[in-house]
Symmetry: D3
Subunit: 127 residues, 6 copies
Amino acid sequence: MDKQTFDRGLEIRKSVLGAEFVENAIKSADDFNRPLQELVTEYCWGAIWGREGLSLRERSLLNLAMISALNRPHELKVHIGGALTNGVTREEIREVFLQVAIYCGMPAGVDAFRTAREVFAQLDQKV
Amino acid sequence: MDKQTFDRGLEIRKSVLGAEFVENAIKSADDFNRPLQELVTEYCWGAIWGREGLSLRERSLLNLAMISALNRPHELKVHIGGALTNGVTREEIREVFLQVAIYCGMPAGVDAFRTAREVFAQLDQKV
Amino acid sequence: MDKQTFDRGLEIRKSVLGAEFVENAIKSADDFNRPLQELVTEYCWGAIWGREGLSLRERSLLNLAMISALNRPHELKVHIGGALTNGVTREEIREVFLQVAIYCGMPAGVDAFRTAREVFAQLDQKV
Amino acid sequence: MDKQTFDRGLEIRKSVLGAEFVENAIKSADDFNRPLQELVTEYCWGAIWGREGLSLRERSLLNLAMISALNRPHELKVHIGGALTNGVTREEIREVFLQVAIYCGMPAGVDAFRTAREVFAQLDQKV
Amino acid sequence: MDKQTFDRGLEIRKSVLGAEFVENAIKSADDFNRPLQELVTEYCWGAIWGREGLSLRERSLLNLAMISALNRPHELKVHIGGALTNGVTREEIREVFLQVAIYCGMPAGVDAFRTAREVFAQLDQKV
Amino acid sequence: MDKQTFDRGLEIRKSVLGAEFVENAIKSADDFNRPLQELVTEYCWGAIWGREGLSLRERSLLNLAMISALNRPHELKVHIGGALTNGVTREEIREVFLQVAIYCGMPAGVDAFRTAREVFAQLDQKV
């Protein structure tokens, strides 16, 4: 493990997904999934999100599109929250998912919209 | 068909993919694939790309990511060209495809990089 | 938007999925997902389902197969209901999903059968 | 192996894909891929295509849609030929692939159309 | 149906997934899904798992990887249980899913780990 | 970058794929794809292949299955070669791809077999 990349990853991951969420994920890790937590932190968040060349906002746009295409609703929820944090508006999320509907197919678009509405409903309830 | 959406789509499609390429695609269409050409022009390019809310540059970023995830190299080539036209730099395409490698898996990343290098080689030869 | 295509799409959508279901989907739409509802209605149901060349029954068969392949259980449920409305029998749905099992892989077949049984159980309970 | 299912599969496979093509596939099989040839013949063509409940024409429609969704152009070519043999017209293949474009996404539709045109060009050259 | 392959499949299926689970699946089958149950038993478990050339343990490793890639959590749960029965340890399952994370993408890895933890929690509760 | 993980990755990558192949990939890298080469070497080959818990032979089996499922023939070729180096026999590759045919669908199996035969033909020609 590259300590510097890991630390940079941890910092970005917390700033995008929320410190509490990330600390919880790491604290609740056991021997089984700790290597995954470390890989995600170092590799996704340190080695990729930590790169220059695209803004955090642009990286969030990419993830919304890719994770919809990959059909992974759990991760999509996490990254819808992250996108809002990174300055992507709900209107822009709508635009991404309309483009998903055309390029990944209508069922992918319908699923992405339903997932987004669930996230928004949870957020609006908290306020 | 909504003539206004179609015309707007045709204009955007030409500006992104090149007038010659698009006119060729439409001219070479026969009875079999003409309905597809019309669908692509009206719905992809008119009804989606023609929307406000995201810039052409951002829509190109999304397509690079999604079409890599969908494993469609022919269309990826077309949209790498389009992305360059829309102001995405080669360095930014690299960033998108590194993020593809992490979220869609290493083989998806390797394939996207190979496709991009083929497009760049063709472009560099033309000059 | 092409009003004529939209209206034709709305009519077909209601006749396949049920007027109440569709009216509910449209009524419960907010600013966020209204553009998706319109796209689905005009584009899926007007521009494609509204075409001649294949019967509604045949289009339902295609959707059962494709949506199973795409791994989208929410939409699959909707289209199992629509297929029954379009005259596809439960025995024919079984045949489609056995073919899915061979061509898309056994887990895709197992999932499609489980989804169908859930839909059938709901329908049988209503009676 | 169930000899009866295998023989029935061989007969259907030949009638759909052409006797020459199938005999060639079986004759050119070596120890490495002979078990696959047998599996394909017995299970795909005997145990599934040999079932009643859907016509050969309908099974061809399903395969065109599924194999497009699965992104497998080699097999798609084979089954476009088979669909024509089973009485699916070129106009109907067009309808299937327009529906693919909507439900599996535009790049899937574009690829399916290109593949079909390649098959048609080969067939038209033979005449 | 090949009775011998079916019987061999039934035996292996029971030994991997548990006699009670399999008998339940077969007993609860109705006219709708009985052909699937037979296909799975004969074809998956008899014709493939019943082959020599790879051990049951190795076939379980393959299934963990493939079913993660295919994004089918229901079947993944079943095969995590089967893998444990076939002598794959929890530490080895972890290794498989870390490799999934790299080759199929991080969201596939995250989902596979979550599914495994659910299975482990259920098993640990039973004891 | 973690130099130790990178070096370990480079060593394993060379031992599996061949020193010449890997040195060529690295030497021919330009500014565009060098970060990918480094990512592949450090993370795939160092952080994952370099882990204990599964043998190189078992990791090759997993990759054959996953990369077939992911529909990435270029990478599949590379990993068929690597699997042979890691002690997987051609008969065992056949077993993997028969299992792919059942779980990922027949077209995935057919494509994997064709790819394997191409690799074997190239290897046999070299001798």
